[in-house]
């Protein structure tokens, strides 16, 4: 393209984005997709269900990238594809083949799967294929729990876009429980909160001993036990549809408290959790401890400059604010959207760090981003690492879930590690198993 790359001074990011104007998120162009973009795909999320297999019903081309990424991530024995032909589209006979494919899968996979997710694609959306009846029949005939999900980017603008509906599907396995044990579920994120987070100790001291997460469930029964909890804490916005569904079907209220990295933001999050869970959470000691540790990392890292990306385990605006408050320079943010949650942090940055430039990952002019020769010491997020060529990169992917005060230490530790032991960006991208 060889034109100027689209970016905004942070002072100009704001109102118009919230009103849907395509300033940060271009809607009228083809989107640029950098080598560092992507995240957890539908397959990976769906296969969080323990003892499950997935049958992906699609034309060959639609299944291709999921197959490659799925096998790369080690799902070869849990992921199966049923290819749809043009003839199938006209006659609808691929729907009959699903039952045959199921029989083949259940006869060949050992130990026998106890749950199955059938994934359809845009083409079955357009055909209006009735997967509900098929799944009911399979569940009955094979005594297996079956749920449906869709890999249908055609619904990308809708409330039921694939990344939202797949979470709805995985939590839909959980039945309503008549007993409760005052446990708490962590939903929306793909990994349990890191073991060294004070979160467990804080809640345990408040009398909440059972903290459940789908990725920590090794059996279907353990997943079902999430229905015995009394509250859901939602960590990622993509899980909101699922949390709303669980509230309606299982009677589990939820609150949205994403991971944050600023000390005052963490304190605020715990305070809201106290109200939501109706318990007293004693966190002061951990705050003090972590403040001491932060000073250690500040000394070790020094006055480095950091670019913040979007495909990270954080809100880019909140993280940029937190890093600024810890004394680091943040010259660039890469972000495609502005959520309500970001507003407060955006305003802080506009007042206190007005020189930050905000780029849009998906803007078509980003194809020329390398010519901008953006230079920073450290990039957080794989796409930020790509855009700022030569920067040492902290992937901060969704594969692990920092939270609370010690979440800050987890991040600073990764930053120091990246500075001391930089890795090839290409290797980091491959290792992450990103799916676009």
């Amino acid at each position: 393209m060889n034109g100027q790359v689209f970016s905004l001074p942070i002072t100009e990011v704001g109102e118009c984005d919230l009103k849907g104007s395509p300033k940060l998120s271009p809607q009228n162009y083809m989107h640029y997709c950098s080598p560092g973009s992507g995240g957890w795909g539908i397959i990976r999320v769906a296969l969080l269900v323990p003892e499950s297999v997935m049958l992906f019903v699609s034309p060959a081309a639609c299944g291709r990238h999921g197959a490659i990424a799925g096998f790369h991530l080690g799902f070869k024995k849990r992921l199966f594809f049923l290819q749809i032909s043009e003839n199938d589209v006209v006659t609808g006979q691929h729907l009959d083949k699903i039952t045959l494919a199921t029989a083949e899968i259940l006869n060949s996979v050992k130990p026998k799967p106890r749950a199955m997710i059938i994934c359809s694609t845009c083409i079955d959306d357009l055909l209006g294929s009735d997967y509900d009846t098929i799944s009911t029949r399979i569940a009955k005939d094979y005594d297996i729990a079956v749920r449906l999900c869709r890999m249908d980017p055609i619904t990308r603008e809708r409330k039921t876009a694939p990344e939202f509906s797949v979470q709805q599907a995985i939590y839909d396995f959980i039945p309503h429980s008549t007993t409760s044990d005052s446990g708490v579920n962590i939903v929306g994120c793909f990994a349990p909160i890191e073991e060294d987070s004070e979160f467990y100790e804080v809640l345990c001291r408040a009398g909440i001993n059972k903290i459940r997460h789908i990725a920590a469930c090794s059996s279907l029964e353990e997943l079902y036990s999430m229905g015995c909890s009394t509250h859901n804490i939602l960590l990622k916005p993509a899980g909101r549809l699922a949390a709303q569904d669980m509230e309606r079907k299982l009677g589990l209220p939820f609150c949205f408290e994403p991971v944050v990295y600023g000390m005052d933001n963490i304190t605020g999050a715990y305070s809201r959790l106290e109200q939501f869970l109706e318990v007293k959470l004693d966190t002061e000691r951990f705050r003090e401890e972590v403040l001491g540790e932060i000073r250690y990392y500040q000394r070790r890292l020094g006055q480095i400059s950091i670019a913040v990306g979007e495909s990270i385990n954080a809100s880019p605006f909140e993280l940029a604010r937190a890093l600024s408050e810890y004394g680091f320079a943040v010259p660039y943010i890469f972000a495609d959207q502005l959520l309500d949650f970001d507003q407060e942090h955006l305003r802080w940055l506009q007042i206190n760090r007005p020189n930050i430039r905000v780029f849009t990952n998906i803007h078509p002019t980003m194809v020329d981003i390398l010519e901008e020769k953006l230079t920073v010491d450290l990039a957080i997020g794989l796409e930020a690492g790509y855009f700022c060529a030569g920067a040492k990169t902290v992937p901060l992917t969704l594969d692990s879930q920092p939270y609370g005060y010690r979440g800050v230490i987890s991040l600073l530790r990764q930053m120091l590690d990246a500075v001391n032991n930089p890795r090839s960006h290409r290797e980091q991208v491959y290792d992450s198993g990103l799916v676009i």
């Binding site: 609808g92 959306d125 357009l126 055909l127 209006g128 294929s129 009735d130 509900d132 009846t133 009911t136 603008e157 809708r158 409330k159 039921t160």
Partner: protein, 252 residues
């Protein structure tokens, strides 16, 4: 809530009968919703005094984003909630897909939970030709199907096709067939012909509507005959069918 899909050959009078039944049932004190599933988007005109209801598909075409319930639901005669699916420009796009998209949007907007109708009518274009036009009879949508027919050969041919489709779906918990409504065209032996047809296929005739000029007269004024004059004999006939419809049981 009971949901009823009305099928039948094009031009047989489905919209007229559906609207009249909706009006009659609303007069019985029930909250009624009528969803027109035809790209022509003219199912509910007789309930709104001719006020056009913004079809869901037209809204999407014109605005480019998804509507709210207020954008697509118009309250017509006696509080009947009127919705039109609409569809593509003739000759392009996919009408069946339009119905699927409309149903998905209504589901996302929680239309039934918000309005809590007692009776929902789906007024469906023609025959069960593809997944889109079968959508209203799928599990979770209509509970019962009514086929409107006259004694004419092609109308009976379409009725047979619809019956066959419903039979094919028998093991899928789809809607059951409530019965036939004979909308007379005054052809010779019409009652006998349709009676024999119904007997052969094992279908109950749940209504026999004679040809009556009053229907057309009130249609000219964009009203149903029920709204126009509920005391007419034809209105009583429609009221009787409505009363039976809202009564318990009935599926075949």
């Amino acid at each position: 809530m009971k949901k009823i899909a009305v099928y039948g050959k094009g031009g047989i009078g489905k919209s007229t009968i559906t609207s009249s039944l909706a009006a009659a049932i609303s007069m019985l004190g029930f909250k009624v919703m009528q969803i027109g599933c035809d790209p022509k988007a003219d199912s509910t005109l007789k309930l709104t005094r001719g006020e056009a209801v913004m079809p869901v598909m037209n809204y999407l075409k014109e605005k480019g984003y998804y509507p709210s319930l207020q954008d697509i639901v118009v309250e017509g005669f006696n509080g009947i909630l009127c919705i039109e699916a609409g569809g593509p420009t003739p000759g392009i796009g996919c009408a069946g897909r339009g119905i699927i998209a409309t149903f998905n949007i209504l589901e996302e907007l929680h239309a039934f939970e918000v309005y809590q109708p007692d009776i929902v009518f789906y007024d469906v274009l023609g025959d069960v030709v593809c997944g889109g036009f079968a959508m209203p009879i799928r599990e979770g949508y209509a509970d019962e199907v009514i086929i409107v027919t006259s004694g004419e050969k092609m109308a009976l041919f379409a009725a047979r096709n619809i019956k066959t489709a419903i039979d094919n779906f028998a093991d899928r918990n789809y809607a059951s067939l409530r019965g036939l409504i004979l909308n007379r065209r005054n052809m010779p032996d019409e009652g006998k012909i349709v009676g024999t047809f119904a007997e052969e296929l094992g279908i109950k005739i749940i209504g026999d509507i004679p040809r009556d000029n009053n229907i057309a007269i009130f249609e000219e004024q964009n009203q149903t005959v029920i709204e126009g004059n509920p005391e007419l004999p034809i209105s009583h006939i429609i009221m009787d069918i409505a009363q039976n419809l809202v009564a318990e049981g009935g599926g075949q």
